[in-house]
Symmetry: C2
Subunit: 127 residues, 2 copies
């Protein structure tokens, strides 16, 4: 299946790459509507699925709706238990972990995801 250009997919990618939060499909839909007023939520979901399947974006699964990340360089995430925000965690990823898991399981491990949990700086009462 050869992929063809579409304005919707192009602007979705642009939108996702421009923002540093990790929007849900609905967030992206809302953002795109101002520029493509009649875009549909189905189109947003379809493109998010194909872009993440082809590795151009990352799907982040957790509680509530999935979130998406235009930054595909491997990195960890943090989810605030208070406000729900998902933030990037800029620490080195531990590649050796995959080998340890692989030998423990005798399975072929090709990657891992880490999600940290806690309360973000914005939600912690400053005093």
């Amino acid at each position: 299946m050869i992929q063809k250009y579409s304005r919707q997919r192009e602007m979705l990618l642009e939108e996702l790459r421009a923002r540093k939060d990790h929007p849900t499909a609905d967030d992206i839909y809302a953002a795109l509507r101002s520029r493509i007023p009649n875009i549909s939520l189905g189109t947003v979901y379809r493109n998010l699925s194909s872009l993440s399947a082809s590795g151009q974006i990352t799907r982040i699964e957790g509680e509530g709706p999935d979130r998406f990340d235009g930054d595909v360089h491997p990195h960890y995430h943090f989810a605030c238990r208070h406000c729900g925000r998902v933030l990037d965690v800029d620490i080195d990823i531990d590649n050796a972990l995959d080998e340890r898991a692989a030998s423990s399981l005798r399975a072929q491990v090709d990657g891992h995801r880490v999600m940290f949990y806690g309360v973000c700086a914005a939600c912690r009462p400053s005093h």
Copy 2:
């Protein structure tokens, strides 16, 4: 809200602790029906939610329906991309990771989850 005994919750816990796979709500519902024929799926979901909220079981979120783990000692999981099975990974957890994330984010980090991805031994063609 003081919790009261219920046969449904008790048997759910027992079932979940007895198995080493990581069943979905529906899996548990199916398993319990043989012993409690008229138990409802709503009751299963309600109890899974309250038990995980109180830390007696763990909810594992990922692709597809949530899975549940009766083993609450912190450990990592592996999801097979081929058959969907979720397995425990018996390697030491990296507690220092939380500190690194916390100082990078200036947030309060109280834990993390790791999910490995790959193909499990059972799904890899033996040759």
